[in-house]
């Protein structure tokens, strides 16, 4: 039996593996993707100081370090069940059962689907699908496309597609419906964009965002926007335009769009069809936490963390003995935060195993998570600290830790 099994070879899982293998534990990681790195593989962002965050290189570095520390990495293996055993946990995988004394679930996040009419046509994909196809698999998703859904992830990926020579015709909102919620309201989208304005290359947008910090200014901004919208990296972002339907017979041929009022309702007579050979849908991210649910872990619903998250303390321990969580499964944040959390989880597992040489290391790692969070370039939600505090209190209430 191994000491620690880690499900997910993303930045959280790999960092955790390195940390606990270095404390002498025998560690195995399984991941269903064909290579290690998780969503880090597709990430390519320019940092405010101009350097590039190249996820592919980061992933390769973590993979090398983990192997050097003696971690066994098995790719192409899916885990579909976990149950407690007398001595720890048993994970059922597509390659058989694995017994372990400690289990870390670091399965990351999944994208929220937005069922715009016509979304099942070939050529329609999630924004993350386009990111992986372009940056990891190095295949063009099309010649000219439309992105439906304006948020931090879709704006970042639009730029990545552009870098690869793929034309983005425009970014627009999804139609207002019960499933799209706030993503269809120009004002709400405007407000969330203001949080990422520091990523904009154009000083104009930076200035504009400073001007529009008060809510009446935002309303003004939305209603005064020219219907053409504004551009980032020459990509038109149209907050007063929504997709009504994706059209095509055997694959995507275009998108039927309309101008919308500030409440997201289409303006009669403003409809038109624009040609496109691919469409990306961006509905945001939520923690991929099914395995923790199957394990019997209690959950909390915390919108600022992306939805339902397993309850855990700042040592990444759940109330279930020997079960740990780290990374986006605990709340949607950027890869650097996931790595910092992974280190905490790894050291915490070593501690649970009685193998942590210096407990100050764990305390430092916990502090480091907060520091990395403060400095994060990409923040998926403004109230992450509050959400984290809520989960911490629930953990305290459930375990006294």
């Amino acid at each position: 039996m191994i000491d620690a099994l880690i499900i997910g070879a993303g930045p959280a899982g790999l960092s955790a593996a390195i940390a606990c293998a270095k404390q002498g534990l025998s560690v195995r990681i399984v991941d269903e993707f064909y290579r290690a790195g998780g969503r880090l593989l597709g990430q390519l962002h320019q940092e405010p100081n101009g350097t590039w965050w190249n996820g592919m290189e980061e992933a390769a570095r973590l993979d090398r370090e983990a192997r050097a520390a003696g971690v066994e990495i098995a790719c192409g293996v899916s885990v579909f069940n976990v149950v407690p055993s007398s001595s720890g946990w048993i994970a059922s995988t597509t390659e058989g059962e694995i017994e372990t004394s400690l289990l870390l679930i670091a399965t990351g996040a999944s994208e929220t689907a937005v069922p715009v009419p016509g979304w099942t046509l070939p050529g329609v994909m999630s924004i993350g699908a386009a990111q992986v196809m372009t940056n990891v698999q190095r295949v063009r998703v099309g010649e000219r496309g439309v992105i439906i859904g304006v948020n931090i992830l879709s704006v970042a990926i639009a730029r990545e597609l552009q870098l690869a020579g793929i034309q983005i015709d425009r970014m627009i909102l999804p139609p207002v419906s019960t499933v799209t919620g706030k993503a269809g309201f120009p004002e709400a989208v405007m407000r969330s964009l203001l949080r990422v304005a520091h990523l904009a290359p154009s000083p104009l947008i930076r200035w504009g965002s400073q001007l529009m910090k008060s809510s009446w200014m935002q309303r003004l901004g939305v209603s005064l926007y020219p219907s053409q919208g504004f551009s980032m990296w020459d990509i038109p972002i149209q907050l007063r335009t929504a997709a009504l339907e994706i059209v095509g017979t055997n694959q995507v041929e275009g998108v039927r769009i309309a101008r919308v009022a500030p409440d997201g309702q289409p303006i009669p007579g403003s409809e038109q069809i624009i040609p496109a050979d691919f469409v990306c849908i961006a509905g945001g991210l939520s923690p991929l936490a099914e395995l923790a649910a199957i394990a019997g872990c209690p959950f909390a619903y915390v919108p600022s963390l992306g939805g339902h998250v397993p309850i855990h303390n700042d040592r990444m321990q759940t109330p279930l003995p020997g079960l740990f969580v780290a990374g986006n499964i605990t709340g949607v944040e950027s890869a650097k935060v996931a790595m910092a959390q992974g280190i905490v989880a790894g050291l915490s597992m070593a501690d649970a195993h009685g193998a942590l040489a210096d407990s100050a290391e764990l305390e430092n790692a916990i502090r480091q998570v907060g520091i990395v969070r403060q400095r994060a370039t990409i923040q998926f939600h403004p109230d992450i600290d509050e959400g984290r505090a809520t989960v911490g209190q629930l953990a305290l209430a459930s375990t006294g830790k």
């Binding site: 994909m125 993350g128 196809m133 295949v139 063009r140």
Partner: protein, 111 residues
């Protein structure tokens, strides 16, 4: 048609593996070692990987990371394989999902 991104301003030149061939619905397509079935087909302009089992409407990839199961195909006789997660092997036989009979549905509304 070849939609591979050979030159990338930040990621550099494509480091293609050994070239391979596989079949999809009876047609032979090229691929490079390390490419998924979905990526290799898209690089050749093929977007449709199956049809909806009941309605016959075409489907391709959606999530490209194994979550949605939109891309399921049959590989060397094994059904329900995710094309976005499976690497091409030389000589692989891939077939698209087809419309299946729905005997229970027809007139299935009981009084």
């Amino acid at each position: 048609m070849n939609q591979r991104i050979v030159h990338h301003p930040v990621l550099g030149s494509l480091d293609a593996g050994k070239s391979l061939h596989f079949r999809f619905n009876g047609t032979t397509y090229p691929a490079y070692e390390g490419e998924t079935i979905a990526a290799a087909l898209l690089a050749s302009g093929v977007r449709t990987l199956r049809v909806h089992e009941e309605k016959g409407t075409p489907r391709g990839i959606y999530c490209n990371i194994g979550h949605c199961y939109e891309c399921r195909v049959t590989v060397d006789g094994v059904p329900t394989v995710r094309a976005c997660m499976t690497l091409v092997q030389d000589g692989m036989e891939v077939t698209a999902g087809v419309v299946l009979p729905t005997p229970l549905k027809k007139g299935g509304h009981s009084q």
